[in-house]
Amino acid sequence: MNIFGKSVTYAFLIISSFVFIIPFIWMVSTSLKEPGAIFAFPPQWIPDPFLFQNYKSAWTIAPFQQFLENTVTIVVLTTIGTVISSSIVAFGFARLVFRGRNVWFAILLASMMIPYEVTIIPLYVEFKLLGWIDTLRCLIVPSFFGAAFNIFLLRQYFLTIPYDLDEAAIIDGCSTFQVYWRIMLPIVAPALVTVAIFQVMNAWTDFMGPLIFLNDQRNYTLTLGLNLFRNSYLTEWNNLMAIASLVTVVPLIIFFIGQKYLIGGIAASGIKG
């Protein structure tokens, strides 16, 4: 490419990335401003002074500590649940031969089409009958039964492992469960990380589930807390942006650490070009 083409490309990339990134900068900048500077015109890009205590005060206006604890509980337990259960099921689909396997796998694929919005009303009724409404159980327990997309993803990984390995292990006296647990799991560890990342992101940002299943403020998650905070007339934009920034920190860190796993996961799900 010639120098002209290169400069045009760079100019375009710089301008468009600026457009993509500016709301972000605006969020962090607002979160550090003093109340009087929020409505300054023209906008003040670099806060003067930097008010880091906005974060602390916003955090204590509403019980965000409690919301954080609830969110972390859900994130940790659902991630453990989905990684273990999805990998067990995926192992069954990929490595064991039994009657009905293909039919069930077809059902699994079809089940990905069922939207949450359709099942959530009866789920609400079901959880109400079980006495689970307004407990974190509604959001945690289902993750221990495998998630269709994760099962599909992990099955693709399991299929790439040579079968000699299973046979050799069984001749050496491993039970099928030991083959899964001691031989296969370590091999597919990168895929487990991918699944874990997806789950952490989903659970961290989930809004509709908590909105429907949780009522008492003590059980609120961060996203519900942020929405509650937004609805309060006392809330200033700087405090709101401080909380929004804090809520965004976790997905950001995970994104930076897990970039290669995310991309690897997408590639492995069989979408080729």
């Binding site: 490419m1 468009s16 359709v118 009866p122 039964f145 429907i212 934009w237």
Partner: protein
């Protein structure tokens, strides 16, 4: 190992999912179909009313049609727009120039902010008097509208926001682009193909599977849009952002019309199923997979 133990073993591994599927997916799905034939407020006894919920919906409920229209408009505009933007950016990022890793991260970042955090952030960006969008527009001499408060602009605002978050698609397109053998470009340029012709005859056909994937995910995602409507506009102004999923939620959990909401949700299920099948069925005519070369 005999046949019986094999069966037993297989089902003891996948059984976990089968139970979960029955309890949390298929069961609720069928239960939802059943209660869609009832009038039920959750507090009293359900009353069987046959197809009345469905008939009322189609004949007597303007809000049903309005929310369908809003959701369709949103899907039809935001999905192709997001695809075009992310494909264009992916093609640029795929050029072998310095610093592309940084740009890739910058474009991807917004898609990391989702849900309520993104909604709250955009309420501030779109704020009519002090938001930065109208500030930048004022440079061009444009007096920006009251984005979320104006029925003519509210849905447009949410579409802009969705394009901003379409960076996730860039990654998928990049993976697709990087899988195209360089050989195809080399050979065709020896034959005198222009860059534009290469783009049309090589790049586009080779990445159609990625386009396909992004399209399905995008359409389904658009039909399930809820958070923006709930947090930012509450369906307003004048119902201009009254998304279908928001309507289901309000019918069920605000008006406590469980049967009616279940009927609404079944219509959503059918729409998503039909669209997905449609995209799958037609895909063979426009999706090119390397392994199934046709003559």
């Amino acid at each position: 190992m005999n046949k019986m133990t094999r069966q037993f073993e297989g089902y003891s591994f996948i059984g976990l999912w089968i139970i979960g599927f029955m309890a949390f997916s298929l069961g609720p799905l069928l239960f939802s179909l059943i209660i869609s034939f009832f009038k039920w407020s959750l507090l009293d006894k359900p009353v069987f009313i046959g197809l009345k919920n469905y008939i009322d919906m189609f004949k007597l409920d303007p809000l049903f049609w309005k929310s369908l229209k809003v959701t369709f408009t949103y899907a039809v505009v935001s999905v192709p727009l997001g695809l075009i933007v992310s494909l264009l950016l992916a093609i640029l990022l795929n050029l072998k120039l310095k610093g592309m890793g940084i740009f890739r991260t910058l474009f991807y970042l917004p898609s990391v902010i989702t849900g309520v955090a993104a909604a709250v952030l955009w309420m501030w960006v779109l704020q009519p008097d002090f938001g930065i969008l109208n500030y930048f527009l004022s440079f061009l001499g444009i007096q920006g509208p009251d984005w979320l408060g104006d029925p003519n602009w509210a849905l447009t605002s949410l579409i802009m926001m969705s394009v901003w978050g379409s960076g996730g698609g860039i990654v998928i397109f990049l993976a697709g682009l990087q899988n195209i053998p360089q050989l195809l470009y080399d050979v065709s340029s020896i034959d005198g193909a222009t860059k534009f012709r290469q783009f049309r005859a090589i790049t586009i056909p080779m990445i159609t599977p990625s386009i396909f994937f992004n399209l399905i995910m995008g359409v389904i995602g658009a039909f399930r849009t809820f958070t923006q409507g709930y947090v930012m506009t509450n369906g307003g102004p004048l119902n201009s952002t009254y998304f279908y999923a928001l309507y289901i939620y309000n019918k069920a959990f605000q008006d406590l019309q469980m049967g009616y909401a279940a009927a609404l949700s079944w219509i959503l299920f059918i729409i998503i199923a039909v669209l997905t099948l449609l995209v799958f069925k037609t895909s063979s005519s426009w999706v090119y997979y390397e392994t199934e070369r046709k003559g």
